[in-house]
């Protein structure tokens, strides 16, 4: 059972020790990772994915439940405790959706009958439905990302989930995040999206390859997050209408559709 994951400081790109000693993340927590491109967000995610033991370029160490993890946990997909949704938009494997999901289920020691459930969940996140006889390489960006999300949620199903820029996916990000973050999981989400960043309780700020600081979300920010979410919902509704060829008859600027706070 995973109670916590800890990041022990390494070095940034200039070789300087990072400005923290240790970050402990407990089960049930969603933590954000933010920073400009090239600031080391993905490298931090990678250190966690491979449970770095001062043997990566950043020299960080990752502990599970406060202890050095068993080496098997690093390498064997059947024992792996970490699921990762990376930035990739497409599959490169030349095989059918069904064959791929069955193979992955086998790698992870899961029931191959999960296939239908995964496809159903993926189709709830995207436009054109995925069928199991489709070849992976012909899936659109949105279909691929949805399938990756559903695969992480059901087949890689792990107590620690790493998410790299879910907002770039062109899929329903809130639904996707909900699907990925089951009960008691530890979620680390790399994001450029203020809505997602402010939904977390804490966020790690990255700079020149190292952790610069960790800040807790303030009450003010939490309030702002609620407002931003409403705007986002509006945008999503308009987006869906545009996508389905409907005319937009109201907008933000039309006070009737807005919640009272915005109309003021």
């Amino acid at each position: 059972m995973i109670q916590s994951i800890s990041i022990l400081a390494g070095r940034n790109k200039t070789g300087r020790t990072e400005k923290f000693e240790r970050i402990d993340i407990h089960c049930g927590e969603i933590i954000g990772i933010v920073g400009p491109t090239g600031s080391g967000k993905s490298a931090l995610i990678e250190d966690i994915e491979q449970l770095a033991q001062r043997d990566t370029t950043t020299n960080r160490q990752i502990l599970l439940n406060g202890r050095i993890p068993d080496p098997d946990l690093r390498y064997d997909p059947k024992k792996k405790l970490i699921a990762q949704l990376s930035q990739n938009m497409n599959f490169l494997a030349d095989m059918s959706v069904e064959e791929f999901l069955k193979l992955h289920a086998k790698c992870r020691g899961k029931n191959p009958n999960l296939v239908d459930q995964v496809i159903e969940a993926a189709n709830a996140l995207t436009g054109e439905p995925i069928r199991k006889d489709m070849n992976l390489t012909i899936l659109s960006g949105g279909q691929s990302r949805s399938l990756m999300v559903a695969d992480v949620a059901f087949i890689s199903d792990s107590p620690i989930v790493l998410i790299d820029e879910i907002e770039n996916a062109g899929i329903k990000k809130h639904e996707a995040l909900k699907l990925l973050s089951g009960n008691g999981k530890i979620i680390l989400v790399v994001t450029h999206d203020p809505i997602l960043a402010l939904m977390t309780k804490r966020r790690i700020i990255m700079k020149t390859g190292g952790v610069e600081k960790v800040i807790a979300t303030t009450e003010n920010e939490m309030e702002l997050s609620v407002h931003l979410n409403r705007i986002d919902q509006e945008l999503l509704q308009i987006r869906e209408k545009v996508r389905h060829g409907q005319e937009i008859t109201s907008s933000f600027f039309n006070a009737e559709t807005l919640s009272p706070e915005f109309a003021e």
């Binding site: 490169l92 193979l103 992955h104 790698c107 695969d151 890689s156």
Partner: protein
Amino acid sequence: MKVIIVAGTPGAGKTAVLLHTLKVLADEKRNVSAVKVDCLYTEDHLRFQNIGIPTLMGLSRDMCPDHYTIYNLGEMIDFANSNQSETLIVETAGLCHRCAPYTENCLGVCVIDATTGPNTPLKVGPFLSTANVVVITKGDVISQAEREIFRERILEMNPNCRIIEANGLTGKGSIELASCFDEAQTFSYEQEELRHNAPFSICTLCVGETRIHSQHHRGVLRHINGLQEYIGE
């Protein structure tokens, strides 16, 4: 002397991974020498030399680069000895998937590109199945699920290998790979044998025949229907 032989398909990232690994060894003040074998052209030896690693370069030209490597291993060992190196790292060109340049006591390192798809480990043959260490590159370009399937396929072909996930751009995996080099057995040039026989094709094409019609075929020939014959004197 420990000898590390690195093989892999063109473009898999052998040189990029090795550059990061050689930097790790250089930082540890280890005395290593390197050899870069290629077919027609390379400047990679200059990149190795730039980080302070004595490096010999060899071009096999119209000869099989793995045969060429084997014929020159003695000279390569002499080169490493002349630099008082305790470890020699040989990067081969490796082209046809059929060969495995590893000798019994070297540390055989196979570098394989994850973006080539999960069937690749089934296709590449002895340079994967007889390796001690398999380095997977470009894993960051595919999903975790595809990486896990790729890894499983490698283990189907070579159940006892150590797998390292590396990245030639960021240097991920280089510290782990460098630490594997210590595990190489002691290399003895006089007694060394190949783990897997080199590919053979003993025919007149090997010595310069360019005509393709069947009336010119001489030597040991294998037909698409599976039959094998010898034509000649």
